[in-house]
Amino acid sequence: MKNLVILGAGTSGTMMANHLVSKLPKKEWKITIIDQYKTHYYQPGFLFLPFDIYTSKQVKKKGAKFIPKSVRYIQEKIELIEPSKNKVLLEKGEELPYDILIIATGTKIAPEEIEGMDGPNWYKNIFDFYTYEGAKALRDKLREWEGGKLVVHITEMPIKCPVAPLEFAFLADSYFKNKGMREKVDITFVTPLGGAFTKPKATKALHYLLEEKGIKEVTDFNIERVDYENNKIIDYAETEVPYDLLVTVPTNMGDALIERSGLGDDLNYVPTHKATLQSKVHENIFAIGDATDLPASKAGSVAHFEAEILTENILRYIKGEPLKEDFDGHANCFIETGDGKALLIDFNYTQEPVEGTFPFPGVGPLQLLKESRTNHMGKMAFRWVYWNMLIKGIHIPFVSAQMSTKGKQIEQVES
């Protein structure tokens, strides 16, 4: 009997367990998945929780519900990965040998990386919305907040779902408008990048959103510390941005397990071949989703496309065949723009988001890089798709793992 071990039962790990259980012969392979937490969160919902659009119940379910019965599901903290011994060590001392290991331990916020961020004002007037706890605490704060300077801030890249902070700013604009207090709130978007939008096509098509909603932009802001006593964030150029309410996306880092095991880069992400998803650590270790160092977006849709390709590559690895270099960095994301509208973007490692129709060329019904109500309905419907199809490893019709260029306004790059 051979062992395939999956570390992490989040979006990626759960998908891989579901894909592999039907592909690996049960008499030859035993699949084990390990995660210390009992709850599976619908993380895209964390964006909506602060604005009372989703309830806390809509974004969490018991993880066990989504793990196939024939897979061994261990709820325990993982102590160490030992690649030289092909073993994983659990907190209570159990040793799990593996023939193939899949690392799907995701990414976490690390507010402790910035001085003053998670100090005495953490969850008082400084919040994150990338955790269930943060999003819920922020919801309670927003319910009673009387207005002032709202600063939406990105600490450093890469972050999970790079557009979420921008969506947060857009939704905040709608939220305060609906509460009849928009004029009491000043919204500023602060980013370490050159702009809220950084790609030429998106900047051209979308910059009006910021102007229309009266959202100010502070760019190239690399935070050094939070001065929580005087309510301002300060960057290395001594630029100061004052706030009454700071909604920040702290530094994102891979799990501490990766650091303990000596398998990660500076941010604890696992060095991974970007087209095959085999780790650069060891040939029988694969990595997927937010846990990798891939130059793709850290997003559920990326993990979903990766899962289809990784499943095939694991089967190839078992047969001793060369791995398929198929992963192209494909991502497909709905972006809430507030007032019941959303955008849709579809892109990969090399192709920036462009205008067009999706998934059917020339037909749609979804419009790329343009605001519409249909796109918003797509984003809302996605919660159902997530719980009922995506993490169960059911293929989403008409959406391929590799990006399609059909129906898109792609300009040929001059050679």
Binding site: P162, P192, G194, A237, T251, I335
Partner: protein, 102 residues
């Protein structure tokens, strides 16, 4: 689009970033720096070299990376490339600027 930098015609994007790194050389670099009101010193070249190494290894450039680079600290980085050091240093080094997905 094309832009004459120094004596050469170079392919750049709408923001002036080089499209083809093969067209980069020290002269091009000094000209772009000049347009940013930066005079290249020995320290600037060390930073450019570090950035090129990162780019070659396909490692993203970040302030955190600069902190650990052993070449320069963050305050010095700001002094060498005032006003958006990552944006300016990548422009001068002839590689794409750090970006997000949109």
């Amino acid at each position: 689009m094309k832009k004459v930098i120094g004596q050469k015609e170079i392919d750049v994007n709408e923001e002036g970033y080089l499209v083809d790194f093969k067209q980069w050389d020290r002269e091009v670099c000094e000209c772009i720096a000049g347009e940013c009101n930066i005079v290249m010193t020995e320290k600037h070249w060390e930073v450019i070299e570090y950035i090129h190494d990162k780019h070659e290894n396909q490692e993203p450039l970040s302030i955190r990376g600069i902190k650990k680079s052993g070449v320069i600290n963050i305050k010095e980085f700001y002094q060498l490339f005032p006003g958006g050091p990552l944006k300016k240093a990548t422009l001068i080094a002839g590689i794409p600027k750090p970006k997000s997905c949109i």
